[in-house]
Amino acid sequence: MSTSSIARIFAFSGAALVAGLALTFGVSSGTVLSLLTQATIFAIFALGVGLLLRQNGMASFGHATYFGSAGYIIGILLQLKAVPAEAAIVLAVLGITGFAFLLGLVIVRVPGIAFGMLTLAVGQMFFLTANRSRGLTGGADGMNIEWPATLFGFPMSAIVQPGNMFMLSWAVLVVCMGGLALGLHGRFGAITEAVRDNEERARFIGIRTLLPRAALFALSAGITSVAGTLTALNTGFVSPESLHWSVSGVALMMVIVGGYKALWGPALGAIVYFLAKDVLGDYANHWMAIFGIALITVIVFSPTGLAGALGRLFKGKRQPRAVAAQATHHTAQATQAEPAKPSAPMARTAH
């Protein structure tokens, strides 16, 4: 990997951190900071969902499962006083990543939009189970997360200050994004891209395609669980709604609106979503309809999302070949029934 691009990634991350600090000190309003915190947390969530889509062409309609479960795992561990809070956080993220890896080994074999429906089904199972459970998790009412007075040596009351909470979330976002940029630049990125583009051929150049896809799925779930952890910290509460498929749907919307071809697109989508909603919230009862229309508009006028539009603005990048996509799409279908031919590239059939 070229050293110049590594340097670029570090430079961007550094600049982003400084920008975050500037925001923390520049913005005095607690309301705005807490809104930005929420947006940043969802940016991490969307980063996870977008990663899966970008690197593997898989759209998940069930990532709320990993988002909400983080809060539940931490909440339960703390309530049982089983482990210290720091360990609970680590256990939650690792546990979810590990679980997603095992689940991934099974479900990534299902192709295309059916994969999306499958994640939806798995997610709803978790939602329903959490909803009707009793005792510890409080069922539909949800549960409190009993954070201790100090976390990693910092007093809890300081951590949850709006400014600090924002800076923490922002730093986590930047670290996740920088880490991903580094990781994807290298071998793992190349392997997953190869599997995404053409699974069949990937197998023939010696890639075991199941593992990388499952690993990617796990990584994406892991990042999402980090967002869930931050929410647990920010809210101190978790309930089944955070597992609901509509939460996954919203995250996916952010990804699409932001544009998933760029790593930072989903994060942008999340931030735009929250800011827009905040502005709308004051003026309209009809945010659903307004957001629906906005979503459609973005999709229609900028298929690569806001990130794509911005990219074009700055770099004058050329439009994707829309017609080509159509022609190859149908050819891919027509050839699928010809068994002797290698199946069309994953990225195409995946739709």
Binding site: R187, A190, I191, D197, N198, R201, F204, G206, P342
Partner: protein, 239 residues
Amino acid sequence: MSEFVLQADDVAIHYGGVKAVDGVSLTLRRGEIRGLIGPNGAGKSTVIDAITGRVRLTRGKVQLGGQDVTELGPVARRMRGLSRSFQRTSIFGQMPVRRQVELASHKMGVADSGADADAVLRELDLMPMADVIAEDLGYGEQRRLDLALALVGRPSVLLLDEPMAGLSVQESHDLAKHLKALTSRWNVSVLLVEHDMDVVFGISDVVTVFELGRVIASGEPAAVRADPRVREAYLGSAA
């Protein structure tokens, strides 16, 4: 070690009632090019699928360098030097050329995968396109990229499924010359499935003719060309 790098014995692939390949034996010596021709649907691609482990054999045995690989999967076979190209171009559409060739090379366990990839790219005149996204290449270039992916890690056996399909006469000839030169230089054995008779008879050391999943003729190009059964079943006016 056996004299054959590749040896397929009595291979059969049946799809339900369809006997796509029905008891075929094939061999390849080191550095040899064997042309494989036959009418559409004769089972040429299926034989390649069988040898590379893409489909399960109904019957028969495949040996690579004297070792039985019948039970191995495609990846394991590739690691042992058995490589193939595809009848339909099969590349990684969204990746830059060099990134995918280098990845393939790395996966083959080549220590300096960068150098190996560069060597292959240079060999196939793809160096100028090293940073182009594969989708944006011309068709001929995409075919060569497909070949490049098969060539990394210096395989000992190369199974090529109609590499010239869709190329112009000139491009076909160029590629054929390239191929001939490469096989002798790298000492790789090639099984070449192709409909372009000029190419097949031009560069093959031996030619095998398939019909309906069986071998109907095999031998020196000239002898095969003269075989009346081959003329009737396949060559027609092209002979």
